[in-house]
Symmetry: C2
Subunit: 370 residues, 2 copies
């Protein structure tokens, strides 16, 4: 059994070790059926039970009202970027988008294929280091789209925007879903690629209100209609069965941790350890505005690319992997999703403190020699 290391990857990302153990067993034989979870027919009773358990746990965790459907789709959030306007936006219609990073921008680009996009707010002026508060909504919006957490830029909405009127709120929650309680009834639709907080890549969770399902476009391929998947319990064609199984086990694990409120508390504690250090550090600087900080992706820099690289190499040698920041921001990014252990954050801060002290000594040494 090889040793595990601390994995700060932004996604696909670290998963609960107990879930990995369960998945290992299920690969060989699911619940004593003598057939592995990947090998069960999606129409058989064993997988139907997995699907039902996964949906039930999802509903319990997030308190999803009965007038919402839970769907398990494929294609990632990137496929939702065009599927949403294809279903809800006709030529001549307008949808509101708040632009807080690369993913929101991609969502805007796809919506423009189908109708008008009104950008209600953007933080592009300062390289997306904050969540805009001054929002200008259009008067007749078919829906309002935002990205709750920005993986690349390390920013996160403290709570959903207040939208006037009845424009349904649609949120890409890929990188912070189930990291804190969600007031589902405030949304028309929530979607998330699984590979950050929910499971393996290849499954997209969609939570969608009934009226959006029934009012959506009919003149598009069946596979791209939410209706099709809602009417067929996500089994119109073969769904990604293994990913759905793993997602179900992750939901179970979150329940074992005490549910979304308890997970949110733990996520706050983990983030505080790192942000508290960053606020006092002379060497390391957080990149996001204080009121816009993400609890999932914590971005920071030294200000010198060679020093950043040196720290990343030092951390990697110490068994802390995946800390290199995205090229749009540079520096470091610590992704500390639900399953990332507190001990890993403590180890990171210890290492940063040590690195900073050594840099200080080296500078003093240079000064003496100079």
């Amino acid at each position: 059994m090889s040793e595990r290391i601390f994995n700060f990857s932004a996604g696909p990302a670290v998963m609960p070790e107990s879930v990995l153990r369960e998945a290992q067993e299920a690969l060989w034989s699911l619940d004593g059926t003598g057939i592995g979870v990947m090998e069960h027919s999606h129409r058989g009773s064993a997988f139907k039970a997995v699907l039902a358990q996964t949906e039930d746990a999802c509903r319990r965790l997030a308190g999803i009202p009965d007038n919402y459907r839970v769907l398990f789709l494929q294609g990632g959030a990137s496929s939702q970027f065009f599927t949403i306007p294809m279903n809800f936006l006709q030529a001549g219609d307008t949808a509101d988008y708040v632009v807080t990073g690369s993913w929101s921008k991609k969502a805007v680009d796809q919506a423009k294929r189908y109708g008008n996009v009104h950008v209600a707010g953007t933080s592009e002026d300062r390289n997306f280091c904050y969540i805009p508060s001054d929002l200008d909504w259009s008067s007749k919006s078919r829906y309002t789209h935002f990205t709750s957490n920005n993986t690349i830029f390390g920013t996160e909405w403290a709570k959903e925007p207040e939208v006037p009127g009845d424009s349904p709120l649609i949120c890409d929650m890929s990188s912070d879903i189930f990291s804190r309680p969600i007031d589902v009834k405030r949304y028309g639709m929530i979607y998330a690629g699984a590979q950050k907080n929910l499971g393996p890549s290849g499954v997209t969770l969609v939570i969608i209100r009934d009226d959006l399902v029934s009012d959506a476009a009919l003149d598009i391929p069946e596979m791209l209609q939410y209706r099709t998947h809602a009417e067929n319990d996500s089994c119109y064609n073969t769904p990604p069965t293994f990913g759905i199984y793993v997602m179900g086990r992750v939901f179970h694990w979150i329940e074992q941790q005490g549910g979304l409120k308890a997970i949110a508390q733990l996520n706050q504690e983990k983030a505080d350890i790192l942000y508290d250090f960053l606020d006092e550090s002379v060497l390391f600087k957080p990149t996001a505005d204080k009121d816009s900080r993400s609890l999932m992706n914590i971005t920071f820099v030294t200000g010198k690319a060679d020093l950043d690289a040196k720290f990343i190499a030092t951390a990697k040698a110490a068994g802390l992997d995946g800390l290199k920041g995205h090229r749009s921001v540079g520096g470091m990014r610590a992704s500390v999703y639900n399953a990332f252990p507190k001990a890993g954050v403590e180890r990171l801060v210890e290492l940063m403190r040590d690195f900073e002290a050594k840099q200080g000594e080296a500078k003093q040494g240079e000064a003496k020699q100079g």
Copy 2:
């Protein structure tokens, strides 16, 4: 460690046990990295190596020429049904389709959204129990589509149809890909959902010729353009990393069996055991015409629904699962993909022989009593 049973499921289907063992280890730590295969970034070196190995093995196995791209997509064959005409068929254009079952029909329905469909042949007159040989091609076809194996109806093309002119041949090989050698250069595009012969559901393998990639439509969402995935080595967005890993291990396993020629030989032997028995049985009758029989899905009936049900229950009690036929055909279906063991086919025939003998005795008993 729980015991495994014989799984005749039509898909998701049985996988090689050695691959399941490898996947169990990789879930915890991939190649000693200390990070599980589901948890590795798709941009990191560990997954990049997995992706390259999977593609290389695929190319070696099928002898894929350099002017073809190998893509790993999502959404199943059902998503290809609309993606193909969306990319290759403009309004006013015509594409040829051969209709040999439910999946070909669904493919036709989607193509009609974009252009004209010319049905070059169909076997619907006899409930798809044969592969049509009398084919009537259109004169100017953008492409020619067929389904090499029909999971539901137990029929399979002995070899690809001879298409006059230069209409690129596009094949849905979901249920018999890599069960025998493929002459890739005869095709414009081959696609297959993974969940029968290649791995878990949630990955679609696409093998596509360069000119089809470059000549395809540009006015469709990037995620639906083959171009996008070809230019980004299937990593435009996060691909289904675990499924790609498993597919790579399945390719490796096929190579260990001696490659596609050896696998084809083994598949022939397995199918012969069952078809030879069916040809001599008084009770069980094969449903497909002899010259159109599938080596992957072997369909048969007793002619009496209650007797079919009794046999299926008897088989299930004996540890042979998944034998119930699709409702379109009724009776039984034994899916014996690459990974299905010969011993399972032998066990099935033994059970059928025994069941038939007991039915005979029961009848004789009734006759004596009557």
